[in-house]
Symmetry: C2
């Protein structure tokens, strides 16, 4: 089955174990396009940036219109590794180019895993030899599996779009379970499409989609040295994304795909048992709405309340109050809902409402729940996804040893 990154035409992929993960699980993945791709990338905002992040940024600046492949490893992040790390990332590029018979600057590289450990390039070279003959359109699932670190399941999706100009496909794989994990750095995603999209448009649309998806999720509030989202477009469908209508259709599909993957990541958050969709609305600006949403989504007290299945609404209001955004608490309205239970108003007019506590507890115990805070100060809003904070999160992150 051609799933994930192999769902669009003309993409092949394969995965292998080259010994970077101590467990011996697959840890090296290669995604190759049969023809040259335009490409775009969005990278971590952290000041401490891993070697592959720096290299990919440079590669995309100089050569965003003829990318051929992405080589990704898990187990070692190649972050905080100094000049030796920079040389290793470049060597990953060269080794891949040699195997594929292309130029090094046609290859993007991704790493995720332990911070501060140097890559073993001989293992990667051996791995590449195994990956090349194995390339196939069946590689979508195994590559999604090979980039996992503390993820409990591979994450891949695809979407087919029938636009006025013909049909094209978007496919993707992602990993990430803590925003950073036990030195298991990172959220990574590789998105492929068989549409033809000029590189500058691709970059613009990717940035927009990431802002509404991967930038709107929080497992633990920590961001990584390695966070990277790459998008490769190989034009194999023959559909050109240039008209306003086609750009809109592509953008919509890309956002939908990335939002679904982002939610997959939160659902698989370290130790998470519930997915929470949080909407903050009625704000004076989108920045205000995002600031409040982010403070609530990362509040340990809100997240533990959700873990406990307890509609402890005071913690949500208190988190909003400390977000650094000015609003009148007496105007705020807090509602919760789940798929099964309709919306309940918990707080308004500056005081608690008399709601059905059993229904509230039922909502807070659902697999997926919705929290809406309306500040009634304006028209702007922001949406975020978060998960609960369980003892399992602490176990995963405290019991991991470097």
């Amino acid at each position: 089955m051609s799933v994930g990154v192999c769902a669009p035409s003309g993409f092949l992929a394969s995965a292998t174990s080259c010994g970077l993960k101590r467990s011996g699980s697959p840890d090296l993945a290669l995604v190759v396009s049969e023809s040259d791709c335009t490409a775009a990338g969005v990278f971590t905002q952290s000041l401490v940036r891993a070697a592959p992040v720096l290299l990919d940024e440079k590669t995309l600046e100089e050569n965003a219109s003829s990318i051929k492949a992405v080589l990704a490893n898990a187990g070692i992040a190649n972050a905080c590794t100094g000049e030796e790390g920079a040389r290793a990332a470049a060597e990953m590029q060269r080794q891949t180019a040699r195997v594929l018979g292309c130029l090094p600057e046609q290859v993007l590289v991704l790493s995720t895993g332990v911070i501060g450990v140097q890559l073993d390039l001989a293992r990667i070279a051996d791995g590449l030899k195994a990956l090349y003959p194995d390339l196939s359109s069946e590689g979508g699932e195994p590559t999604a599996r090979a980039i996992m670190t503390t993820d409990t399941r591979p994450k891949y999706r695809s979407i087919q779009v029938n636009s006025g100009e013909g049909s094209f496909t978007l496919g993707a794989m992602a990993k990430g379970s803590g925003m950073i994990h036990p030195n298991m750095a990172t959220m990574l995603a590789v998105i492929t499409t068989d549409a033809a999209v000029p590189a500058p448009i691709l970059q613009l649309l990717l940035k927009q989609a990431v802002d509404l998806s991967f930038n709107r999720i929080s497992v633990d509030g920590d961001t990584s040295t390695n966070d990277t989202v790459l998008l490769l477009a190989n034009a194999a469908s023959g559909v050109r994304i240039e008209s306003e209508a086609s750009i809109s259709a592509f953008s919509k599909a890309l956002t939908k795909l990335t939002v679904e993957l982002a939610k997959d990541i939160v659902r698989d958050g370290e130790g998470a048992s519930r997915l929470v969709e949080l909407q903050v609305k009625g704000c004076r600006s989108e920045a205000d709405a995002q600031k409040i949403a982010s403070t609530i989504a990362t509040s340990m007290l809100v997240k533990t309340a959700i873990a406990g299945g307890d509609p402890n609404w005071g913690r949500i209001v208190a988190a909003a109050g400390r977000a650094g955004v000015s609003f009148d608490p007496d105007l705020a309205i807090l509602c919760i809902a789940s798929v099964q239970v309709p919306e309940l108003e918990l707080f308004s007019d500056g005081k608690p409402r008399s709601f059905d506590r059993q229904q509230a507890a039922q909502i807070f115990s659902a697999d997926e729940l919705f929290i809406t805070l309306d500040l009634q100060q304006g028209e702007k809003s922001a949406r975020m996804w978060t998960c609960d904070l369980t003892t399992e999160y602490v176990h995963i992150n405290a019991d991991y040893h470097t």
Copy 2:
């Protein structure tokens, strides 16, 4: 023994159970000065402010030079309680004034506990009747106990100062265990002194001391609707704090006292097993240093690494990198130490140092450890205290039901 708030001359205190805590533990505390006090207060920066916070601010604005008493209850925070809550806080003031035979505006009130629940004023009135005849200089320990919520032990300290102008005493009690707890809002502190300090100077010195102590601790990054620090000066020692030397001596003692209490709070942090002193230095501004220190001190990954006794330095560097402060990671130097083990350098020149891993693990398993990050960008620094994040924190906060 005259300890805590009763250590300075002329302060009496008592505590009782009036039924606000479901457990039946003591939950009402009264601190009274034999003569009028100048007073100062520092309050939560949250927009969502509890009724007693609003009332005390107003009281201190209008009447900072003749405060007589502080009435504090635990069990119910009187936050998010609307107009009924405002009336209840004022009624606490009036009831106390009636019992003591003073004016309502001579009384400050504190509440901590569940958010969004109205106070039972009849219980407080009954409690006050029991508190009044019980007032004594032995009340320092019982009052510190009565304001506890999830605290596992009462926190009180005192310090005697021999200045050129004579000797005076500072005493204090504090509570707080999560920054906010399970709706058990809050960090509270009441500080007393028998020095004579004009109210404007008192306010200035309190603000300075709080900035270096209670504002530098983090248990879970959440701040509360009720956070309050009050300082009452009754002049009973006859020592006047007006000369530059006496102000300096008073300020130094006040800062020492509040830092020690702040550390007591972190040590007793919900589920905490280790106290971490974090210093970020070599910054261009103190604000930069504080921003980075705060990001590290609240990082769930750093805090779980410390819980696991694991010297997972990559998480500390990664947290600094996402703090939003510009610095060159290649110049940063990260060191750790404990009381038993001398300083170890973990990271510098953009790469890991080869340190003794056993010694590093020993430091990260100590009751009290020191983390120093030197950015080498300037001369400014900031100090913070934090604790580890354990499964016990999640238990305490997830298993509490509203």
